[in-house]
């Protein structure tokens, strides 16, 4: 195999417009590409301050510490000028591993590059805010650089104690915190000290798990997924990457460098990763067994930390049985390519779904599955799926993409979920969605994965449901339930933020403000009030979903009000939500936002019936808007006592008006009848008068006579 020096892997591609381009190809498994050139700011930009302490100089890039998705710059600590720090400026729109950043900032782990601080700050070269992570600067530089420059040498005798032991120890500690590193590669190993004695794992938090990894460094199942969909993974994935890294460091070159990704994957699928990578290389005897164990494609057979520890301490180790991947003696030819394993064919099927459907329908395929691979049950399952598709021709379950998703899941249950060109592991759904939505502007297939329950096909195909699988299935089902609701705060936007804790809010109002934390949302909206169309509500689908996903308070009543079809209830829901946030998060006055929302309160004011109350509100609102206090605004506009009084008054006045109307109509409609009644009354009165006079006269006469 071709042998290329390690440093040739680090080919940085310069990209325009400051954005990482969409992944190349329809399979989505292209390698991640280098980040923007625009991040390298000209020296004219002044230092950028992070948390009023760390000065990041855009004019002082550290190219040798760049990562594929972030650029490195010199950082000065304003309180400790002797400290050596550097910062990585992340790519906007690319989810960072926020939970890992927070955990490592609090608790340092030996042999992992310490994180000092982080924040979302304005980066002048990008013209927007982005996440910047400050690390301790590795004074010894990259291990691969030093190896290439022959400043150091690591042989098979140094490897166990100098590299494997410290790194495995760091990974184990990370694993104990339920985290995986997922960024172990030769060029991401650094010397922390100038004397190049302490090796540390480099930055891993600036991109989704596995995103920056070459296909070679990913275990087989995750390598077949697109870079954003490789998933969070676990310690077993790190151990595989550590194994490959050891091989590359030992050899000093990449034995498969000349192979394209597709060729490499196919070779790994057909022959196994160890055989493909190490097959033609001269691996020292003492490292063969651990490398076979660490490079095992079957994750259940792969070495764990105990095995590594046993090997490092010279204790007894379990020798891995040499086992070739399940493959057929005969091949199945698909698009001129011969396949000997179901995994290989499934991987190829997913790239060409239309041709795959034709192939699946052939008798040769069924025979090959049944006899060639000796998988009659899988062949039967695919046969049933083909028939089910014919019965559901009018629905999504009758589409070629659905059939291919089901067939590939049956053929390769450990591989990624494949649907409409997407390929992702279940725990990589969130990052895959972010990538497809934000960078490719094509979220529909990713949305269909949930709405059509494509993941269920994959779970149904699993030979055994482990705890990890059950957990991931539960997460996917929760995302599905969130997607099914169409109200504000739900839908695919909510899925995006639930699936990516480190993604910034993508609302057009605040997209350039890099809002990663909920605390930064209101100030960003306040800032946006000066530049956006304020005739629409400030809480759009993205903002509502971001708040619902990040705000640790019960906001259901607010979301329910916002979902109301009535304009007054909706704007009150929005106002009360923002006021609740300002109050809970102790956000300072937001003059712009209060002015923005104050201008939208017309329907809420008009919800009051009493004209005097309306006039009072219209008179008082500008005063509160100038104070920038949303809680006071909501207290004014949504005073329960005032609203109750208004309702009761309106009800009473409606009744009074109606009573008056009834009486008027009674009077007016009476007409002739009323005249008759009046005449009758007059006659009665006349009779009464006459009788009264008569009685009076008689009485007077009698009394006069008596007297």
């Amino acid at each position: 195999m071709a042998e290329l020096p390690l440093e040739t892997e680090e080919t940085a591609s310069d990209l325009p417009e400051g954005l990482i381009p969409p992944e190349i190809g329809d399979d989505g498994d292209a390698e991640p590409v280098e980040t923007l050139q625009g991040q390298v700011a000209p020296a004219s930009y002044g230092p950028v301050v992070l948390r009023e302490r760390y000065l990041i100089d855009p004019g002082k890039p550290i190219v040798e510490l760049d990562t594929p998705s972030a650029k490195a710059y010199v950082v000065e600590d304003g309180r400790d000028l002797s400290s050596q720090l550097y910062g990585l400026v992340c790519t906007p729109g690319l989810p960072v591993r926020l939970n890992d950043i927070k955990a490592l900032k609090i608790g340092h782990i030996d042999n992992i590059l310490p994180i000092i601080d982080w924040d979302s700050i304005y980066w002048p070269a990008l013209g927007q805010k982005t996440v910047v992570v400050v690390f301790v600067r590795p004074l010894g530089g990259r291990v691969t650089d030093k190896l290439a420059q022959k400043e150091i040498k690591i042989n098979e005798y140094d490897m166990p104690q100098r590299v494997i032991a410290p790194l495995a120890d760091a990974l184990e500690k990370l694993s104990n915190m339920d985290q995986a590193y997922r960024a172990i590669r030769p060029d991401n190993l650094l010397f922390l000290d100038e004397r190049m004695e302490e090796i540390v794992l480099g930055p891993h938090v600036t991109a989704p798990a596995g995103y920056d990894q070459p296909v070679l460094l990913e275990p087989l199942d995750r390598a077949m997924a697109q870079s954003a969909g490789r998933g969070i993974g676990d310690a077993r994935d790190d151990i595989y990457a550590l194994g490959v890294t050891i091989v590359l460091l030992l050899l000093g070159y990449n034995p498969v460098a000349k192979m394209k990704d597709d060729e490499l994957l196919k070779a790994r699928l057909e022959h196994g990763s160890y055989m493909t990578i190490c097959g033609s290389a001269r691996i020292p005897m003492q490292l063969i067994e651990p490398l076979r164990g660490m490079l095992a494609d079957d994750a259940s057979e792969r070495w764990d930390f105990n095995e590594i520890s046993n090997w490092l301490t010279g204790q007894k180790i379990n020798h891995l049985k040499k086992r070739l991947p399940d493959r057929s003696e005969t091949y199945f030819k698909f698009r001129s390519m011969k396949h000997y394993s179901a995994q290989s064919l499934a991987w190829h099927f997913a790239k060409h779904p239309n041709d795959a459907v034709m192939a699946i329908n052939t008798e040769e395929f069924q025979i090959w599955m049944t006899r060639g691979l000796d998988e009659p049950e899988k062949a039967e399952a695919i046969y049933s799926a083909v028939h089910a598709v014919k019965f559901n021709a009018d629905s999504y379950q009758g589409t070629d993409d659905y059939l291919v998703a089901q067939a590939t899941a049956i053929m390769d249950p450990h591989g990624p979920i494949r649907y409409k060109g997407l390929a992702f592991m279940p725990d990589g759904y969130g990052a895959m969605l972010a990538s497809e939505w934000i960078r490719n502007s094509n979220q529909q297939p990713a949305g269909e994965v949930l709405s059509h329950d494509i993941c269920a096909l994959w779970y149904d195909a699993q030979p055994k449901m482990t705890k990890e699988l059950l957990d991931s299935q539960m997460v996917i089902n929760q995302l599905r339930s969130v997607l099914a609701i169409r109200d504000p705060g739900y839908g695919l936007e909510r899925v995006l933020y639930e699936g990516n804790p480190g993604i910034s809010c993508q609302s057009p109002y605040v997209a350039k403000d890099g809002v990663v934390l909920i605390e930064h949302l209101l100030p960003a909206l306040d800032n946006a009030a000066n530049s956006v169309d304020t005739s629409v509500q400030p809480v759009d689908g993205h903002v509502a979903a971001f708040v619902a996903a990040r705000f640790d308070e019960d906001i259901q009543p607010h979301l329910k009000a916002m979902a109301s079809g009535k304009a007054d209830t909706s704007i009150l829901g929005t106002l009360s939500l923002l006021a609740f946030m300002q109050s809970t998060l102790r956000t300072p006055d937001v003059l712009g936002l209060s002015s923005w929302i104050g201008g939208l309160l017309g329907p809420a004011i008009n919800a009051y019936h009493n004209r005097q109350t309306r006039e009072e509100l219209e008179r008082d609102i500008p005063r509160l808007v100038r104070k920038g206090s949303l809680p006071e605004l909501v207290n004014l506009i949504n005073d329960p006592a005032k609203r109750q009084e208004d309702k009761e008054g309106f009800t009473a006045c409606c009744a009074e008006w109606l009573d008056a109307e009834v009486e008027i109509r009674d009077i007016e409609d009476a007409g002739e009848e009323r005249l008759n009644k009046a005449e009758q009354s007059g006659q009665q009165a006349a009779a009464m008068i006459s009788i009264f006079i008569a009685l009076t006269v008689i009485t007077v006469l009698i009394i006069a006579e008596i007297l």
Binding site: K647, E656, W657, E679, Q683, A686, A687, S690, A694
Partner: protein
């Protein structure tokens, strides 16, 4: 079964009552009967021509007619209670004028008071309508035209929701 007091439009109870009174008067006070018979002739005429249910015309004429007759009956009762005295009264033009004039006054009351009362009541009704219209206008100014458009069911709903709230 209750017996009906009327048969073919005749009130037999009334006829029997009047007959009894006439018999008693004939037996014990024939002069009074003579004066009443002649003096209350307008009332009798009114009774015949007044077809209303409540007989208000008869009461009007009768009441005033009695005012005119009663002084002469009193004169009989307190003076000579003789048929001759009775004849003198009913043959005196002035007496008859007073009796029949009083009856005419009663008829005049019957003709003039009802229209006056009707006009008065009509004015009161129109005034009430104006007051109600003004009240409605005030309500609309204070609460908006939707007050007039709100149906009773709406107001009921508002009331119930406000109670819930």
């Amino acid at each position: 079964m209750a017996m009906s007091n009327t048969s073919e439009g005749l009130n037999w109870n009334l006829i029997l009552g009047i007959g009894l009174v006439l018999m008693l008067l004939t037996a014990f006070s024939l002069p009074s009967l003579v004066v009443f018979s002649v003096g209350l002739l307008p009332t009798g005429v009114a009774l015949i021509i007044d077809r209303s249910d409540q007989r208000t015309g008869t009461f009007c004429v009768g009441g005033m007619n009695l005012c005119g007759v009663f002084p002469y009956v009193m004169k009989l009762w307190t003076g000579k209670h003789t048929l001759t005295a009775a004849m003198e009264i009913i043959s005196d033009v002035l007496s008859l004028l007073i009796m029949y004039g009083a009856a005419g006054f009663g008829w005049m009351i019957f003709l003039t008071i009802p229209p006056v009362i009707a006009t008065f009541l009509s004015i009161i009704a129109q005034t009430r309508v104006k007051v109600l219209r003004a009240t409605q206008q005030e309500i609309i100014v204070a609460w908006g035209p939707e007050v007039a458009n709100a149906k009773q069911t709406d107001t009921d709903r508002d009331a119930s929701s406000s109670n819930e709230g």
